[in-house]
Amino acid sequence: MKFLIELWEGFKIAIIALRANKLRAFLTTLGIVIGITTVIAIHSIIIGLNDAFYSSISALGSDVLYIQKFAWGSHDDWLKAMHRKDITLKEAEAVKEQSTYAKAVAPTMAARRTIKFGSEKLNNVIVYGTTEDYIITSNVTPEFGRPLTPLDVDHRRQVCLIGSEVAEKLFNRVNPLGRKIMIGHSKFKIVGVLEKRGKVFDVNLDTRVVIPIGVFRKLYGSRRWVTIEVKVKDADQIEEARDELTGILRRVRKVPPLKENDFAINQQDVIADLYKNLTTALYAVAFGVGAISLIVGGIGIMNIMLVSVTERTREIGIRKAIGARKNDILWQFLVESVTVSAIGGIIGILLGFIIAKVIASATFLAAAISPISIIIGVGFIAIVGIFFGIFPAYKASKLDPIIALRYE
């Protein structure tokens, strides 16, 4: 009870003292504000990115392997990989025939085209040329209509599946099934509308259009890169599948026994690893900047508290004369430094959230307010306030009341 009374009194004294020196208090808290703002803003953005990232990456599927010319996330091999032979449709057929672990194999090619329906137009839509297996490998089913069939693929029919957003934007309330749209300069009949899938990074899956691969090659050229998407039957056997695919591809591509693979088998977890490295670096930057400004801010607090103790020497003498113990004085000044730190910190937390939200709305980044951010912020406030306040408070508590009372 007594402790709480003192804490509350200390807080009131602190507020009075701070109000007497508003500008000084403001300048003192600035370092803390900047430090906490940085930490909270970056943390909120990382949390937001995490949400966006993990929902994105789940669209890739953890049981899907992507056979490509380039390996994800390695820049060093880029030049070397440039000279590799392209992945071909023949290889996709070989994989499909020979693999025992594969559930579905879909060669895909992609290009960006403008699509039109009447006067409505959508630019930069990703057009995928692929096979009937695509709906399995990319884990997306038509919400309306039907998927691509082997007949569509074999007969190179000018039919397409459209993403949910394409349907909304081009057709509004009209039923798109059976209607014809222009993809580039060719007419396609819509046979299905894909369910909503969201974004994978900056690629919006809901604005994609899917057409048979033969049509794609005929209209947009056959020299584009092919990705062979392979969905395995059992996610636990993904490593076995990878070994098997490596064997098949080396054979088909005639890689000599002692030579390295001239292709890459990519997997979702490579991206996850890359992402983790990125966010770890971001965290390091955030905490570096945050820690430096908090130390600078903390030294500012210590400095101002030392000034405050000197200025209020007489007050300390009076308090001691009428019965304040060393600990009472220690608490009073500690509460004051924590209050300064807390005011700066609370402003910093709010500012951090606001900045994170502004950045998120202005860029592709996301932001989320998490209780952990607040806990981190409050933790820093307490640590800085106590750590940098303890020395001035101790100095105040040690003052001799007789000398302090005589102080002018």
Binding site: I5, E9, G317, R319, K320, A321, A324, R325, D328, P401
Partner: protein, 227 residues
């Protein structure tokens, strides 16, 4: 017996092995409800004696019993508690907290002994009314006259109902008329049963009391009871 000081010495080390002997063997006994003045020229040791009496300082040697308790052997916290509960200080320069209201200044000693807020307010109000400042409670010290400030200080000294009121030149910063008003308050306090110790160098102030202790060069020169 309220205060029993026996052969007290106080020596200050002012550096370079220079020692100042502020008190060289002082003995006083003070009874309950005495009204006493301690006098002496500056440098006589009266401030040092006052600090020791007020438990702000401890003697280098000798004994000090306050209501039978050995003050000379107390630690800082025990001294703080005695100052809080048993002693009410009144200073020449008032020593009020400049940013706090009269009421808050009077409440201050109660904060340090953990009196709950509601009771604190009531006690502080009573105390201010007792010194005739019931209508100035929310005023800050700089909104009050010198005499009013000293009344606030007296109210603060009284609020814990201490055994002694220790006043160090309480009229030193006041004009004669206001000084007389303050002395009347001390007389009232004495009449209502308080023990009052005044430190002063002015004869006419000391003559209000019943006993004058005169110090010179760290020893008691004369200790006389007045009629």
């Amino acid at each position: 017996m309220l205060i029993d000081i026996n052969n007290i010495e106080k020596t200050y080390d002012i550096g370079n092995s220079n020692l100042v002997r502020a008190l060289r063997g002082v003995s006083i006994e003070i009874q309950d409800n005495e009204y006493i003045a301690i006098m002496g020229p500056s440098g006589s040791g009266k401030s040092t004696l006052m600090n020791i009496l007020g438990c702000l300082d401890t003697p280098t040697s000798g004994s000090y019993f306050f209501v039978g308790e050995a003050v000379s052997e107390m630690n800082d916290n025990q001294l703080a508690e005695i100052r809080n509960r048993e002693i009410g200080f009144v200073f020449q320069t008032f020593n009020l907290l400049p940013r706090a209201s009269a009421l808050h200044n009077v409440e201050l000693p109660l904060i340090y002994n953990g009196t709950p807020a509601s009771k604190r307010k009531a006690l502080a109000k009573d105390s201010l009314e007792r010194v005739g400042l019931g209508d100035r409670m929310e005023h800050k010290p700089n909104e009050l006259s010198g005499g009013q400030r000293q009344r606030v200080a007296i109210a603060r000294a009284l609020v814990n109902n201490p055994k002694i009121i220790l006043a160090d030149e309480p009229t030193g910063n006041l004009d004669t008329r206001t000084g007389e008003e303050i002395m009347e308050i001390f007389e009232d306090l004495h009449e209502s049963g308080n023990t009052v110790i005044l430190v002063t160098h002015e004869e006419y102030i000391a003559e209000h009391t019943n006993r004058i202790v005169r110090l010179r060069d760290g020893v008691i020169e004369r200790d006389e009871a007045l009629a």
